[in-house]
């Protein structure tokens, strides 16, 4: 594994913190916007992170690493083939796949943070899983979730070549059956403290620095508020 640490030992202050999926998705949206995505795609980043954590997968870690890379990285633009130092954005390509702008059976070379692609595949797949091959890892993805050997950690790679296809008939019954619906009440655990802080820094880029004038005018100072 590369890039930003994803499982830092929480310090004592952070040990009991957890985040709701709603605030996590909202933060992911703001962070993606802060990193330069248009609002509509930033909303998809929030959807993807929420989808992954609802299924116990480390979406904030993947987004945190992706936004770090994106700050200096060379983005490839679908469908143009990437140069040797370029990668596709998993949110942009994922949204296009979900929308149907990309065929179901597709090879995406040089995809950054492929974990973030899975929610879009799941959305398009609906109830019938699609087979996703990321380098040498195979996973089956439906609207319910993801199944495959050790996919929860093996899919958290910085980049991969990605093959999406309809599964061959009869070969994957066990894996497909292993896709479980998300559990209620999932939270984002304290081990993601550092990633959440990083996402806060990206989100901060969407906030306008305050001036004394805006502090008064922007919120409408008006009359005395203490009576």
């Amino acid at each position: 594994m590369t890039d930003a640490p994803i499982n830092e030992a929480p310090d004592s202050e952070a040990a009991h913190i957890s985040w709701s999926l709603g605030e996590t998705a909202a933060l992911a949206t703001k962070a993606a916007r802060g990193a330069g995505m248009p609002w509509g795609l930033a909303d998809e980043a929030g959807f993807a992170v929420g989808w992954l954590h609802a299924r116990g997968m480390p979406g904030v870690a993947a987004l945190c690493r992706y936004l770090h890379w994106r700050d200096a990285g060379g983005l490839a633009v679908w469908p143009h083939a990437p140069n040797s130092d370029q990668f596709y954005c998993p949110i942009t390509v994922g949204a296009a796949f979900m929308d149907g702008a990309i065929a179901v059976s597709t090879t995406i070379t040089s995809l950054r943070e492929p974990l973030l692609l899975l929610p879009f595949i799941g959305k398009r797949a609906g109830a019938t899983p699609l087979e996703v091959r990321l380098n040498d890892t195979v996973a089956y993805v439906s609207q319910n979730g993801v199944a495959g050997a050790y996919v929860d950690i093996r899919l958290l790679v910085s980049s991969a070549n990605c093959d999406i296809r309809q599964p061959a008939t009869g070969t994957v019954a066990t894996d497909v059956a292993a896709i479980k619906r998300p559990q209620d009440g999932r939270r984002v655990a304290s081990c993601h403290f550092a990633c959440m802080q990083t996402l806060q820094l990206f989100a901060k880029r969407t906030y306008a620095p305050a001036t004394e004038a805006s502090r008064l005018a922007g919120a409408g100072a008006g009359l005395n508020d203490n009576d």
């Binding site: 709701s20 942009t92 702008a101 906030y207 305050a210 805006s214 919120a219 409408g220 009359l223």
Partner: protein
């Protein structure tokens, strides 16, 4: 036997069109109604015979400590935990930038343990700087009314009751300055409790918390009176107590909500419009029904007369409302109750003769006596927003163009080439992470603009689409133009949900932000809107409503308007 829509209606007239309803000036004139969420909550608590108890009261002689209030329903118990603080007057501010309050609150799922209270005591007083858990649904805080809290304390300590003439213009002892729910600051996600029948509708946990906070404000003022003079102190008389609600200061933080939740806003307004259409569809009325409506108008006029504000904007509107209601009462006195479709006739008279403020008050009043006909709509006032989130990429460009031309036809009357049409920018301030409204051509804030100008964005995407072939799919367009993705998503939602969009320019120079706040707060059930500038206002909640110890013996709906003075 309860009346049902099926056998009282000959026909239901069409609901009012979105092009009429969804204007800022009109939604900024909405009033609370029997579909407002506070009233839905109290009806349910009464119908299900919920029990309430003050489980903990550890407040010292300075008014500092912790209290808890349990609401015990048929299936579950919820506990309001209240922390009372000794706040120096110079630190008391309703602004979201405040860091200390007179009292702080959370609503806990279940009965609280001492461990829970210790955990909450370390976090709830910090509000945004603390963290609550998945076992909490609401985080809130409140400040005392300087005008009323000390006055009432002194009266009670002396063994006398406060004067209603002092209470009515204020209407509360404490005002909340934020009521956070739905996953904020660590609270449980809405998905966790959204399917609980006691929370059907919108904002039910938040408004349960506020109703219990109201009891705390009474208990703390009576406690302080006892501390001041244990031998002479008395409790508030129930009839006076009932005229004390909970205040609220609301700023721009609430305004983007109406634009960020289009499917939900449609559900709210569609319920209200459907209710109005059902009442207007009634073929006949008895003379006593018309008399009751006239009496209710008198009570609404009394409410309007007690509605004080220093805001020139609202003062003008409230004066118009008083005049409207006085004329409406005269009209009803002469009204022939044998008129065909009588409530439709009354509505039409109002639409022709009253201001927007009066017309929307009349809508609320027309629903008032028709509970069996309209109350079922309360359960429709929520939305599965994740279902409407996903874009239909297979939609043709031609269809998208026609949606934009129809649902956003109103933007053609706005000239977005003028500075006045683009004058404002919605942005979030770094200082407190709260929405603000700035001047595009005077401040360096455009790079931080939030996507809260659907009219402008619809015009932009429509212009961009002109070059695209009608038979192409939306998916390809969005891959080429991701900058339009948010407005395409919105247009697809609005296509099926006509009341989802405010059909006005939300960034124009003459836009009144308080219209957005007023609309949302009216659905909560707030009253006595008191704008303190063009972008924040005060309200009262639950003024006149029963307290937990009298809910079994009083009808909360009958108390929604003040009783007529004898």
């Amino acid at each position: 036997m309860a009346l049902t829509p099926q056998h009282t209606l000959a026909e239901t007239p069409a609901s009012r069109p979105a092009s009429m309803v969804m204007k800022l000036a009109r939604i900024g004139s909405f009033h609370q109604s029997r579909l407002s969420f506070m009233r839905v909550l109290l009806r349910r608590l009464k119908a299900e015979n919920w029990q309430f108890k003050k489980a903990l009261w550890q407040i010292d002689e300075h008014g500092v400590g912790v209290a808890s209030y349990e609401a015990i329903g048929p299936d579950r118990t919820y506990t309001l935990v209240a922390f009372a603080h000794d706040l120096p007057p110079e630190k008391r501010s309703d602004r979201v930038i405040a860091e200390a309050w007179d009292a702080t609150f959370t609503l806990h799922d279940g009965v609280v343990s001492s461990d829970d209270i210790a955990r909450l005591a370390a976090n709830v007083p910090l509000q945004e700087a603390g963290r609550i858990s998945g076992a909490e649904f609401v985080l809130s805080r409140a400040n005392r009314s300087v005008r009323l809290f000390d006055y009432v304390t002194t009266c009670l300590a002396q063994g006398t009751q406060p004067d209603l003439a002092e209470i009515e213009p204020v209407g509360y002892l404490m005002r909340t300055t934020a009521v956070y729910g739905s996953g904020k600051f660590g609270a449980a996600d809405r998905d966790l409790w959204g399917n609980r029948p006691e929370f059907a509708g919108s904002f039910q946990p938040e408004l349960l918390a506020v109703w219990l906070i109201r009891s705390f404000t009474i208990d703390i003022v009576e406690h302080m009176a006892r501390q001041k003079s244990p031998d002479t102190a008395v409790k508030l008389d129930p009839d006076i107590r009932r005229r004390i609600g909970v205040g609220n200061s609301t700023g721009l933080g609430m305004a983007p909500f109406l634009m960020n939740h289009p499917a939900l806003i449609h559900a709210w307004i569609n319920a209200r419009e459907t209710a109005l259409a059902r009442v207007r569809g009634l073929c006949s009325a008895t003379p006593s029904q018309i008399d009751d409506l006239a009496t209710l108008c008198g009570r609404a006029l009394q409410n309007a007369n007690e509605w004080t504000t220093d805001s020139p904007y609202q003062s003008t509107k409230t004066a118009g409302l008083r005049d409207d209601l006085a004329r409406l009462i005269d009209y009803l006195a002469e009204f022939d109750s044998t008129t065909d479709h009588p409530f439709d006739a009354i509505y039409r008279w109002g639409a022709a003769h009253m201001s927007l403020e009066g017309q929307e008050q009349l809508v609320s009043l027309l629903l008032e006596d028709h509970g069996p006909l309209v109350d079922d709509l309360a359960t429709t006032m929520s939305a599965n927003e994740s279902a409407s989130f996903h874009i239909d990429g297979s939609m043709s460009i031609g269809r998208l163009k026609s949606i934009l031309d129809e649902a956003y036809g109103w933007v053609q009357s706005i000239d977005y080439n003028t500075n006045s049409a683009l004058a404002r920018v919605w942005y979030v301030s770094e200082e407190k992470l709260e929405p603000r409204l700035g001047e595009r051509f005077e401040e360096p804030i455009e790079p931080y603009e939030q996507p809260l100008a659907p009219g402008r964005d619809a015009a932009l995407v429509r212009s961009c689409l002109a070059k695209w072939d009608d038979s192409a799919a939306v998916a390809g367009f969005l891959l080429a133009h991701p900058e339009h993705r948010h407005i395409v998503r919105r247009a697809q939602i609005v296509a099926n949900l006509p009341y989802a969009e405010i059909q006005d320019n939300t960034i124009s120079a003459d836009m009144q932000p308080i219209d957005l706040l007023r609309c949302k707060l009216s659905f909560f059930g707030a009253a006595k809107f008191d704008p303190r500038s063009d972008r924040w206002l005060r309200i009262t909640m639950y003024q006149g409503a029963p307290f937990p110890d009298e809910l079994h013996s009083l009808d909360p709906d009958d108390l929604a308007y003040p009783p007529l003075k004898q």
